[in-house]
Symmetry: C2
Subunit: 693 residues, 2 copies
């Protein structure tokens, strides 16, 4: 049985909020805009006749567990005895997380609903989709006892306590910003409390509110012979300004007046929420996937939503996906990977981001060859790496990440982000048929073509379809790719195989889009560039090595799996069947199949445990990109891994279940290990592509 | 020479804000509403020809200093070489803190101006008094050099960077909430920057803004042969809701539209600010005090203002003084000690707090004898310990601190706070002559008299002027005093000598106030109670011991200095000269003089280093209370400590200069030691009473 001892985020859409539980003996809890995991002890359990048992969601739960067994119950009062792993069953799926013990069941629900386009949706539909709440149900079985049982749901390290007491509500909040509540009920005494610790609360017949203290929750006294299911709404509410640089508020503040409003709405909508969750879970269960794959998809999706923000800038919706604990906003080289997920659920968000990138985060540069940085050639349009960080939008045309004269990491990704705009734009149009948008943005696609070609070579006659010039924005350093923390095999942009294949895909996308809009000459020019790229890349295949080296026109001997990434875009645009029959594209596709088959070997581009190693010369491997390339291998290149498939999936699931268990999803593993940087990462959702196989 | 190596807060009035520097090799910096010391490295210094020197206001400055000498300047770039203590002169006074080295001078100014009554003041006067800024001047002398010098003023751990660029301003802000700026100038290039570290900035010819990074500041390039004085405004701006429970905003948001507004106003008002500071410093310099006393007053005042908040609840001003890092709001047993300071500067704040306590934080209880808690007797009005915590106002009638059934610390202070309302109210009326207020609050004083007498004894015939019954709010436990963390000698309220003398003072105050308002019978009744108290306390003098034991009617043998505290109030009300001539008061005053003289002995109520030990049975001693009792000893009881005075003062100054050097002012020392709890404490300002001697 795989371990159940790992953190998971439970997050509504668009609120940058999380309720995190799951890692034993570790903190989690509630937070809005937290760069990482909240640091609250979570106490869910019951007390009866001097025995108190909890789910193990608090710091030192396991070492304290030992204490509880070895020490007599002396001055410290009733000890908390956490459930051990072998006493708990956890059922974790895409829309639910259910923890079951002998007499306690904790269910956490996050319905996977689409966020409708705010410009088109009804008030009620949008309100429901972005209601900033997580639905919890705590069931305790006191049916076989003759003593009363006190059940509790509480958080430690709970700042700025306030109680919530409405006509109907019983609950607690931290400064009105987050909190939880249940309905007042006639059959069971449910009360809020704030105490110095959980034990102090349990010692008192009457729970009390001590505002100075920091352990807050609700407790319910269950009579003997009764089983009680307590619905608890967990909610979030950030009033007022949400971001700086652009003056926005959370869209949900237009639909809900306060935290109490949110909690009441959650409790009132409980049946529909549960039905939505059951339906989402069933869809995943019925998909033709193994259990490891199901876990990976569920976990990726759980991590995604805590990164999302639906903001309103005046009347205009602004969709932001944050880059996990790095908190960069709409990192464009993540957007292109989130594309596959958003196009399933929230297509309008892709348009929204592309429009923001064009209107505010595009720029124009000049370009130069690496050996003559003093000679600038015409460049063109491109887009910034991101739109800001920590809820501060950077000034127009600037990212938080990119710097001049910066070697390696934190240099510019000019060419990569240019290609990403083209690929996202074409995919959005193709997936939605939104011709109005395409017409509105025709000029941008045309600018992008010119800009890409200028970065190939200033002399049209000497172009080969691949990037050869760096942006002037880099100063005396060179452009990088999204693989910023890897070695040159993936990090360097110029002559990079990964980027070259994406350029090929972008030229093909441009051809399609420009032809659709009637720009026949430019479509033809794009096609020519695509053919050049295909030829250049295929020609770089080294028969002795058995693969295409990572850096073209160099003595690089690195082999990289992401060589195949670009294939996904013509596939999604419906171009691939035709390309397979037509040179030079057929040759490129065949060569990439050969390349991948030859490098996917133990010790080369497979780690010992069968997990995928993106580059033969780096131990740094990224789940999101591996998932994408797995999909491409199977769906586009026809690989069948047979029995090995489960081994791969199991190894990748172990990255998250074990490697990043205390952090939620992480997208960067060094031989399966991580130090926790970049946790709650969103990019893992590339694996929803598996649902299409 | 006393050490200069200690933290000091520089704070405007009413903004709960601080700019903290001074402790070597430790963090400080900027914060609003921080419960303790901000944790930012502060870099103030210059770089020229490969040499970079800083004031030592950042973590590990001193160990890094060693590094700078022993290591070659390799990959890490230019090393920061902090000034050592023997290279720096610090001049620290009530309104300025000046750091001088060979070529650098840092001046920090906080003018000690009164906050006028917002209901009466002009818009401009109030704006100026509560402008949330601290005025800094950085002077660097490059006159003797042929190289350019780059001066800098920067903070590390600076979240949510934004640059401030107005027509006139060059500066940086953290999310618009705090920041600093100078004026753009023609003669020197002054630029904002945000970098990964100070060294990274110094390596670049052109400082850059990297939004992702966390070291932000301004730098100025000083040409060879020039000396430059750079005025820097450090500002704070908390927009929107300031507190919960009561919906308030900072008053200054009515006067200033943004952080930029604040900074511009500070820079424009520079000459008047400096004149105010010079005048405040001169007043302290001219006072008949020794240097240790001057330091103690200056340090207490520096710590006070960071605790203050001038809020607006609709049209109504709300004054809050927070309890240092404990963040309790308007703790009433501190208010009564802040009284002496506020009555010098901001008398209206006393009225404001008393009105809040009456209107929202008063309650009525019943009372009981300790040996028959089941039999409740009439009690009366009293007031809560505080109004909330962490900027959350507690519900009306409840403090954040007090709890039922709580032994010791966190029990109720019912009788003490009742007495405090009476004493503050009488002092406010006497000090201001505000008859309107007295008329409006006549009923409260009358209620207070009845309530005090009910806590003495339900049978008027059996009263002795001293508290004998505990509030029903305590449940099965007993009332405590402000000395909550001491042993019973000061902690227990019932029969407590300290509280008994304060009750005597309160009855005298009530007599005066009620007579003034024409309630002759009640005035007489108050006088009778005062006489009873005087007799009871004086009679408790133990000739064998040579003092009055701390707990009357018990076998306590503790001796306490705060026995004399209550004397301050009749002294301030102008009653004492008459009382000295009249029994039983004369007897009480004489007995207290005898008491104090006999216990102020080394090893008893003096620590080895001559610092004052409040209780003979506890090593816990509080500067604020010691200062108050020193004043009473000299001014009221006629003590002359002669040569010893300086020894006392030096020992108390060492508590703050050395004992709490990393924390700012602390008000609780255990044999001169502290673990840092309750830092930035406000109560030390009792020592402004020394200015009246």
């Amino acid at each position: 049985m795989p371990t159940i001892d790992f953190h998971a985020q439970h997050s509504p859409a668009g609120a940058q909020a999380q309720f995190t539980i799951g890692k034993f003996s570790a903190r989690g809890g509630l937070g809005i805009g937290v760069a990482g995991i909240p640091q609250q002890d979570v106490f869910v359990g019951w007390s009866r006749g001097g025995v108190t048992r909890c789910l193990p969601f608090y710091a030192d739960a396991l070492s304290r567990q030992a204490e509880a067994f070895t020490q007599t119950q002396s001055a410290g009062g009733p000890k908390l005895q956490p459930y051990a792993e072998n006493e708990i069953r956890r059922a974790y799926s895409i829309a639910s997380d259910v923890w079951t013990t002998d007499v306690l069941k904790l269910e956490v629900f996050t319905p996977l609903v689409s966020v409708p386009d705010p410009d088109a949706a009804s008030f009620d539909d949008l309100a429901r989709a972005i209601r900033p709440s997580v639905s919890v149900r705590l069931t305790v079985d006191n049916s076989k006892s003759r003593e009363a049982m006190r059940a509790f749901f509480a958080l430690g390290n709970f700042p700025r306590y306030m109680s919530l007491r409405g006509a109907d509500l019983v609950g607690v909040s931290s400064a009105g910003e987050y909190g939880f509540a249940t309905r007042r009920r006639a059959d069971i005494a449910v009360r809020p409390f704030c105490e110095w610790g959980l034990q102090t609360m349990l010692e008192r017949p009457e729970p009390r509110e001590c505002w100075l203290a920091g352990t807050a929750g609700i407790c319910a006294d269950i009579p003997p012979g009764r089983t009680a299911a307590i619905d608890i709404a967990v909610g979030f509410y950030h009033a007022g300004r949400a971001t700086l640089g652009r003056d926005t508020v959370y869209m949900y503040t237009r639909h809900f007046g306060s935290l109490e409003d949110v909690l009441l709405a959650d409790l009132a909508d409980r049946e529909r929420t549960l039905a939505d969750c059951r339906s989402a879970d069933a869809r995943l269960r019925k998909a033709r996937l193994n259990d490891e794959q199901r876990f990976l998809i569920a976990h990726a999706v759980h991590s995604y939503f805590g990164n999302t923000q639906l903001l309103a800038e005046g009347r205009r919706p602004v969709w932001v996906v944050n880059e996990g604990s790095f908190m960069m906003m709409n990192t464009f080289d993540l957007t292109v990977d989130h594309l596959f997920f958003e196009m399933k659920l929230n297509t309008w968000t892709v348009r929204n981001e592309l429009d923001s990138f064009y209107e505010r985060y595009s720029y124009h540069d000049t370009v130069h060859f690496p050996d003559s940085p003093g000679v600038q050639h015409p460049g063109g349009i491109s887009f910034t790496h991101d739109m800001g960080v920590n809820n501060v939008f950077t000034p127009d045309g600037h990212s938080s990440y990119e710097a001049k004269d910066q070697p390696g990491c934190f240099s510019h990704m000019t060419h990569e982000e240019l290609v990403n705009w083209v690929l996202c734009g074409a995919d959005y149009w193709h997936g939605t048929g939104d011709g109005d948008w395409l017409t509105r943005r025709a000029g941008v696609f045309r600018e992008c073509l010119a800009s890409m070609q200028n970065r190939d070579h200033p002399d049209p006659a000497r172009r080969d379809g691949v990037m050869s010039l760096d942006s002037s924005r880099c100063g005396r350093e060179a452009e990088i790719t999204t693989y910023d923390s890897l070695d040159a095999s993936l990090g360097q942009a110029r002559d990079n195989l990964y980027l070259a294949v994406k350029c090929w895909a972008a030229y093909l996308a441009l051809e399609t889009v420009l032809a659709e809009m009637g720009y026949a000459d430019e479509a033809k020019s794009a096609r020519r560039s695509a053919e050049l790229a295909a030829r250049t890349v295929a020609a770089a295949y080294d028969r002795d090595l058995g693969y295409i080296p990572a850096i073209l026109n160099s003595d690089s001997r690195s082999a990289i799996i992401p060589a195949v990434e670009g294939l996904i875009f013509p596939h999604r645009l419906g171009l691939l069947d035709a390309l397979r029959k037509k040179q030079p594209h057929k040759k490129l596709i065949d060569t990439l199949r050969l390349h991948l088959g030859n490098i996917l070997k133990p010790g080369f581009c497979l780690f010992k445990d069968s997990s995928w190693k993106m580059s033969s010369t780096s131990i740094n491997s990224w789940p999101s990109k591996v998932f994408l390339c797995q999909h491409i291998a199977r769906e586009i290149l026809g690989f069948d891994f047979g029995e090995e498939q489960l081994k791969h999936d199991r190894a990748h699931a172990a990255w998250w279940r074990i490697g990043s268990a205390p952090y939620g999803v992480i997208d960067q593993f060094f031989e399966g290990k991580t130090s926790g940087g970049g946790c709650i990462y969103p990019r893992g959702v590339t694996n929803v592509l598996w649902l299409d196989e």
